[in-house]
């Protein structure tokens, strides 16, 4: 798609770099949080499997 001549303000290079830096930091924080969440889930599953304990249905 072709673009028309811009008639609105744009950010400075410094503002764009600051914006991207903030986005990068938020993304990395999100990745760490997700990694921790799934690592904990994996640890719990492994601990349950190694304990030899399984839920039994009452008969």
């Amino acid at each position: 798609m072709e673009t028309k001549t811009l008639d609105c303000p744009v950010r400075t290079k410094e503002e764009i770099l600051s914006w991207l830096n903030a986005a990068r930091q938020r993304k990395e924080a999100w990745e760490k949080k997700v990694d921790a969440k799934f690592a904990e889930r994996l640890r719990s599953k492994k601990a349950a499997a190694e304990s030899g304990y399984y839920d039994l249905e009452w008969v």
Binding site: K4, R24, R26, V34
Partner: protein, 163 residues
């Protein structure tokens, strides 16, 4: 942001996508699990969200077109529910941002997607790192030309990267 409807995603998605708390999650036939999320952007011009994608166990990923197809189904549902702009910044892990940027755009530059969406990418060289940023928006937005013009003008300050 409006919550996505997983039933709509799963109508065409090769992998079953489910919510896990606020994350969209799917597991591939190779046993890899991916998490997807959308994060508010802080640009001063229009409402936008950053797309986050994570291979949560960090397992080595074989080539799998179904991952891309699933991601496209999620993005299409994002645009059905939210008339906003989507941004993507490539992960800098292991220094393969450039390859990830090209892969992401190849995923989204299929013929069907091009009818409905416009995409732009830019390589932004900072002092100590290079970021690869992609913008996706619906082609029929009334303000699409202004959004693209601004993105192009801001991209021109850096080294442009061809999609």
């Amino acid at each position: 942001m409006n919550r996505l409807v997983t039933d709509r995603i799963n109508e065409h998605s090769p992998y079953d996508v489910e919510y896990d708390d606020d994350l969209l999650v799917f597991t591939t036939e190779h046993g890899l699990t991916y998490a997807v999320d959308f994060d508010d952007d802080a640009n001063p011009y229009f409402t936008a969200y950053w797309l986050n994608l994570r291979n949560v166990y960090g397992q080595v990923s074989p080539s799998d077109k179904k991952v891309a197809q699933t991601l496209i189904c999620i993005i299409e549902e994002f645009f059905r529910q939210n008339a906003d702009v989507l941004l993507y910044i490539c992960s800098s892990a292991d220094g393969h941002q450039a390859q990830r940027a090209r892969l992401f755009m190849r995923w989204f530059n299929g013929a069907e997607q091009q009818k409905l969406y416009v995409s732009r990418t830019v390589e932004v060289k900072g002092e100590d790192k290079t970021e690869y940023v992609a913008l996706l928006a619906q082609r029929n937005r009334p303000d699409i030309e202004k959004i693209l013009a601004r993105f192009d003008a801001e991209s021109a300050m850096f080294n442009a990267m061809k999609p």
